[in-house]
């Protein structure tokens, strides 16, 4: 990652684990060999993302320090995997499966419906910051296609009506 790219993902405020995250971190430390702290790279990025909603350059620098590894090792991992958000995203993240079983059962119709309903295309966030829409690869719920993941939870056998029900009742 270039210096410029790194600058683009700065939160411009310091990052540290909260008390609760720190507790989880201390627990994780006991799960891997003592000389293999780098194994906590992915878990720590998850902790940071759980805490802030995304992973900033500051968070990556902090993780590198805590794990005593070069910061490039953290950048490299944060950018390789698709689930780490390098920018803040909407309060609700809709991840619609794009892959074959879901396509065969009508994911295109669901995509159109959600896009129209929210006025956004995949990769975009609504102006009020509530929804981010993504198309993702097979989520291993092929038997329930078309399906989406809404934040942590799977919703299967979607129809436009089902989608409305799910999205309209969100707080």
């Amino acid at each position: 990652m270039s210096a410029e790219e790194r600058k683009a993902i700065r939160a411009d405020k310091p990052f540290a684990f909260s008390e609760e995250t720190e507790r989880k971190f201390q627990q994780l430390l006991t799960r891997y060999p003592k000389d293999q702290k780098k194994s906590l790279n992915l878990p720590c990025l998850w902790l940071a993302q759980r805490q802030e909603g995304w992973v900033s350059a500051e968070a990556m620098e902090y993780i590198a320090e805590r794990l005593e590894i070069p910061v490039t090792d953290v950048y490299e991992v944060a950018t390789f995997y698709t689930m780490y958000h390098l920018h803040p995203i909407g309060k609700y993240h809709i991840q619609l499966c794009r892959t074959l079983s879901c396509e065969l059962r009508g994911k295109e119709e669901i995509l159109k419906h959600i896009s129209k309903k929210l006025g956004i295309k995949p990769g975009q966030t609504t102006a009020d910051g509530r929804f981010t829409l993504s198309q993702v690869e097979c989520l291993a719920a092929c038997g329930g296609g078309p399906m989406m993941q809404l934040n942590d939870d799977y919703h299967e056998n979607l129809t436009p009506e089902r989608v409305d029900q799910i999205l309209d009742q969100l707080p």
Partner: protein
């Protein structure tokens, strides 16, 4: 062709699925959970390896490698720790069976892990679970916490004076991390880029120590083998494909889902009877039998195939991870292939040029054909790219893209040609 095994649902792995709160330790224990620990610890580790070898259990993650044989590759003289890595990445399109085990009977998996650790002389097991399985990782962790509290895991696991620790390690969105060497890299905190084999992980694996990597379903099958012995397990299935399998079925069928049957049942009957047949009263056009990388079969092939390793191999495909994707007679096979190739080019880890460049190229050519911009010579071009990416890379992801590409053209060439002649897709959007 040998006669198919009689089609009926069986309950080896799925025995507790119908029970309320089957995922809890209490219900698991009431129904035989952890009952094989005593018997297993009464055996010599080497005898368990032998028993699993004799059972004919083959890996359920895709390659179908005999589990007991893999275990016996561990070095005899070894002063490093041995690790067990349980593959719960479950990212091959069409595959959604391991999720059932985690959601409905995680304790069967944990019991399998304890027995396997003892058999291979490991004390630390890591379950690598795909990042999107947030709820499932939590369920698994809850089950593990219950097992610790009950003394089933830990320093003195099950009171046997043998330490077993189990840790859930979440991925973060990368299909390639299901590949065993990439999986180990990912646990080590690195990018999921597969390492060159050999050395094989049984010799140089996690933290450069001997490591056994097995799929969730493979490990969950172990307690049954201990209870009923190799012969008891072999009562199910065929000579070379022993046991039961949690087959997934998705796409154009009336009742998609996961069904446990013996190996060797008729594919056609499985589709018609268990999955309720092709939806909307339509006809069958194609089935991808075992996850998206397996060569596609046409209706004629399907009528001949039984669900076991040999039959699918004889018919030019593979059993893979047992996830069938069914297409009805109104499906555009060019569009199907385009969808799959998009997946594979998206998931290339990028370290080998043939895979990084070739898969994207294959996708573009097929997308052009689907859009009506294809040329006849594109078909030979696709076949030649497929040949040039397969087997020339660090891992077999490139081959996983080449196989569907080649087989779609081979079995449905006239559809590709029609797109090219018409200058558009002949199927309704």
């Amino acid at each position: 062709m040998t006669a198919a095994v009689e089609l009926k649902e069986v309950k080896v792995l799925s025995a507790k699925y119908h029970l309320k709160d089957s995922f809890t330790l209490e219900v698991a224990r009431q129904h035989g959970g952890y009952s094989q620990i005593d018997k297993a610890f009464g055996m010599e580790p080497g005898d368990i390896v032998e028993e699993v070898k004799n059972s004919g259990l083959r890996g359920r993650g895709g390659a179908g490698f005999p589990a007991g044989m893999k275990w016996s590759f561990l070095p005899k003289d070894n002063d490093k720790p041995v690790y067990l890595a349980v593959n719960s990445d479950e990212s091959e399109p069409g595959t959604f069976k391991d999720r059932q085990i985690i959601e409905k009977d995680p304790h069967m998996l944990i019991e399998g892990i304890i027995i396997t650790c003892y058999a291979i002389k490991a004390h630390d097991a890591y379950i690598y679970i795909r990042g999107e399985y947030v709820a499932q990782a939590r369920m698994l962790q809850n089950a593990i916490d219950e097992a610790y509290e009950a003394g089933l895991l830990g320093e003195n696991a099950c009171g046997k004076g043998y330490r077993v620790d189990v840790t859930v390690h979440s991925g973060a969105g990368a299909y390639v991390c299901g590949e065993e060497m990439a999986l180990l890299e990912s646990i080590e905190g690195k990018k999921g880029q597969p390492r060159v084999k050999p050395p094989f992980p049984a010799l140089v694996g996690l933290y450069d120590a001997p490591t056994i990597i097995n799929n969730v379903q493979t490990i969950a099958s172990v307690p049954y083998i201990i209870e009923h012995g190799a012969e008891g397990y072999r009562k199910f299935g065929t000579e070379k494909s022993a046991g039961t399998f949690l087959f997934g079925i998705s796409g154009h069928v009336e009742k998609p889902g996961v069904y446990e049957v013996e190996m060797g049942v008729s594919m056609q009957e499985f589709i018609d009877k268990l999955a309720g047949g092709v939806w909307k009263g339509r006809k069958l056009k194609a089935v991808i039998p075992g996850g998206s990388s397996c060569p596609v079969l046409n209706a004629e092939d399907v009528a001949k195939c039984t669900l076991d390793y040999e039959s699918l191999m004889e018919n030019g495909s593979m059993l893979g991870s047992g996830g069938m994707i069914v297409s009805d007679d109104q499906t555009c096979m060019v569009r199907n292939l385009k969808n799959l190739l998009y997946f594979y080019q998206h998931e290339s880890c990028g370290q080998c040029t043939p895979c990084r460049e070739g898969l994207g190229w294959m996708y573009k050519v097929v997308a052009d054909i689907e859009d009506g911009k294809g040329k006849m010579e594109d078909l030979d071009l696709l076949l030649s790219i497929a040949d040039n990416v397969e087997g020339k890379t660090v891992c077999v992801l490139s081959g996983a893209a080449a196989m569907p590409c080649r087989s779609h053209i081979l079995k449905f060439r006239e559809e590709f040609e029609e797109h090219i002649k018409l200058g558009k897709c002949p199927f309704p959007k």
